[in-house]
Subunit: 473 residues, 2 copies
């Protein structure tokens, strides 16, 4: 049984910490970007050190008070807001934002959890290194949250997701103890993989306070192309061709449907579309290599062969950095365009790569079965990760179609489950999908997850309701 | 309190399974390659299906009988043999050796746990794909054991260790339930990372029965060179140079000390050494790329620059495949040569890459402090992984120096711990290092590991004594 983080609690907690750590919570900490949840809570803690985080968690554990760890607040599944009583303590890492170290020779950086992703990228860049994690919210999301949710983004194909980019973590466990795991080793087989257990646990098993991150040499040469294709099947064939000939240099392979380009056209007149006539399907592909890797020549050659084989219709190769930026602006405007149009239901899914074309076709039929809805299906094809978002008919009001959210979502997730895909490719479970996790998860895995949660957080204070509970929705 | 797997147990278990699954255990199942442990046990189970594994584990759980999962038996830390009472059931996966599927387009293979690593490699090769996990025992170790111990090897630098090469697993948990986790998704954020919890748990949290493995395009061009250098510091500088210019194409960077070449010379007259005069230090480097990646030209250019800068003394570039094989034979003969010479103490360690040169120097001094011992320090420099093996003086008998094993091991591990390295880079903890895990592990991590073990295996039947217990030695 949990107790609320009320004013009496706040006063008692504040006495154990430096001034300014404990205060009232601002409304922004109780909102989520999609407005699906409304958090409750009065008390905000903003510790400045790992020792303070430890003291706060121990204090809460002793009093059975819930904690909601808070990063940049950009999560899309409600993991950062607790809508149901009792009121939790909101624990923001924003004041622990230091880049503790950049080791260029070892290709390693140590960053505190509150560091904003864009600042982590910039610190790597300053050391002539690349930190490849890249997503739409990189200007405001924080690396601790990226790790807690195992964030993905556009470069997973080549560099992996947040999990793959993390060598070690420092974390405060639910009893307040500190796990000093900032290892920077490429090989370390000393016991169970506690790091990967905490990464992706969405704050339900502990609070990540710092991480040791992998850095990479910056590609000296980059080639970027926008290509149009007849179908997802052709896109898949192109991906295989590029993978076979370009030995892992493909860093982005973004599938874009005509609907996405139309949405960008409607909502962002300032964004220049690369094609006069909007193609049915297009792919934004980027490869990068070291000096002498001839990526432009090799990409051009591969795309020429693809055209000859009929896999590709039209090819635009970026002639300079500004044109490259132009191409990327189109892709990166898509989430904002979707938001302005207003989806009925959004789905962050992944399926085995070889079934992608059949899945997209089946998904289109499925959505059509609900009426004249609009579908924007786009994403990181190379990872089998699709953002499969459903919108009201042109000119119709979103409100008139919100009753379809649940049935559409259920139908899409059922289809994903049938092909052994994932109902959450990169956004996590949070509270939005906690019910679907119970519905679709392997029973043995679910039971093991509950045992692990009970073992590490017996009082259930860490982000209760996230991941392992029926959605509050 | 555990019960022995005695004849009565064997008879009862056999009745629940097809003929031939349960039988007497052959002596070979009770030995480890280094002869450090002597296992006990009378009963061997060799299931042919996951359902049979499930039935066996449930049967043992109901009767509180210990299980030692058995792969190829090649582990070097005694994880595969239980030397202390009560007698366990030895559970060999050898009859579950099928390659269930090879998906060339999706770059995925599904292999059963008993498949021998070399056969997994061959199945990938047959599909014109690469499964990069490669280690000395690949002819007899089994993929289930490779995953249970998170095996490393020579290509981790580019492709990662067993953990990184695994997309999903099927496993039987300690209560006999089956975790159906053969996902082939590149992105899947649906709950805690049960896969990585089982990978590397050395059979103490469950039995891996099958795995979904990553495949890669085969490099179309390969360049291999044997270079001599003055010091590990120069080797490190060369590694950084190659990493910065060859964008992740470096698949092997093996540091070799003169002592290793001398051992090969002494014990393997059939192996041709590449240098007339044995160099103090040398590195075997290999890079591979796709068509048009010009790896030979680029490696040659990089090595020329390294020579000009004095980082490299002498360079032998393999002129053809047979010379490449000759180079690799030297490296791959080292473990066998070490075995024939007979180490007093062997150490599988990793340290942060940037401290490697200082660590090696300090380690040499440390060993010299014990007398005229011989040190063979070699390994996967790119991963910070050294095999740091100590041998008796030339002509002396190993037996006369075995009293130094513990003090030498303790001194080496203390030094590793001081630089925040790992006392087990790739071999795991098993029983040999269970005591050192307690000694050197982060206390919060150790407590969390114990909680997780208790939660998933409350009766403690899965490989008791391995990882989480004081070594039986």
């Amino acid at each position: 049984m949990l107790n609320p983080a009320d004013q009496a609690f706040a006063t008692a907690l504040a006495e154990t910490l430096p001034d300014g750590v404990v205060g009232p919570v601002a409304p922004s900490y109780l909102e989520d970007p999609r407005g699906l949840f409304r958090g409750i809570g009065q008390v905000l803690a903003r510790p400045g050190t790992t020792a303070e985080v430890s003291r706060i968690v121990r204090f809460c554990a002793e009093r059975s008070v819930a904690i909601v760890p808070y990063g940049g607040g950009t999560g899309l599944v409600g993991g950062q807001v607790k809508p149901d009583a009792p009121e939790p303590l909101v624990l923001s890492l924003e004041r622990m934002a230091a880049i503790r170290e950049v080791d260029t020779g070892g290709n390693v950086m140590v960053a505190e959890a509150g560091a904003i992703l864009a600042e982590v990228q910039a610190a790597a860049d300053k050391a002539d290194r690349l930190f490849p994690l890249s997503l739409a919210s990189e200007g405001s999301c924080r690396i601790g949250g990226n790790l807690a949710t195992n964030a993905g983004g556009v470069q997973v194909l080549r560099y992996g997701n947040a999990r793959d980019l993390c060598l070690g973590i420092e974390a405060v466990l639910p009893d307040g103890s500190v796990y000093h795991g900032l290892r920077r080793l490429r090989k370390d087989n000393t016991g169970y993989d506690l790091r990967n257990l905490l990464v992706g646990s969405e704050g339900t098993l502990g609070v990540i306070t710092a991480a040791c991150l992998k850095l990479f040499p910056k590609p000296a040469e980059t080639a970027t192309a926008f290509v149009t294709l007849a179908s997802p099947a052709d896109a898949l064939a192109l991906l295989t061709r590029l993978g076979d000939t370009l030995d892992g240099l493909v860093s982005a392979f973004e599938l874009i449907h005509a609907q996405g380009l139309r949405f960008v056209g409607e909502t962002r007149p300032d964004v220049r579309l690369p094609f006069a006539d909007i193609p049915g399907w297009s792919v934004l592909v980027e490869i990068g290599g070291g000096t002498g890797s001839n990526v432009t020549e090799r990409l051009t050659l591969a795309l020429e062969k693809a055209m000859l084989s009929g896999q590709v219709q039209d090819v635009l190769l970026a002639q300079n950095e500004s044109q490259r930026q132009e191409f990327w602006t189109v892709r990166e405007s898509t989430p904002e365009a979707n938001k302005r149009i207003g989806a009925i239901s959004s789905h962050d899914i992944s399926v085995p790569i070889h079934v992608l074309p059949e899945f997209i076709a089946a998904g289109q039929d499925l959505v059509a079965g609900f009426g004249p809805l609009r579908l924007n299906c786009f994403g990181h094809l190379g990872d089998g990760n699709l953002h499969f978002n459903v919108f009201p008919p042109n000119g119709a009001s979103r409100a008139d179609y919100l009753h379809l959210r649940e049935p559409v979502k259920d139908a899409v997730h059922d289809l994903v489950h049938q092909v052994d895909g994932s109902i959450s490719a990169e956004h996590g479970i949070g509270r939005l999908k906690a019910g679907d996790l119970v519905k679709y998860s392997d029973p043995a895995k679910l039971a093991a997850m509950r045992s692990v949660k009970q073992a590490l957080d017996p009082k259930g204070i860490m982000n209760p309701g996230a991941v392992l509970a029926v959605s509050a929705q």
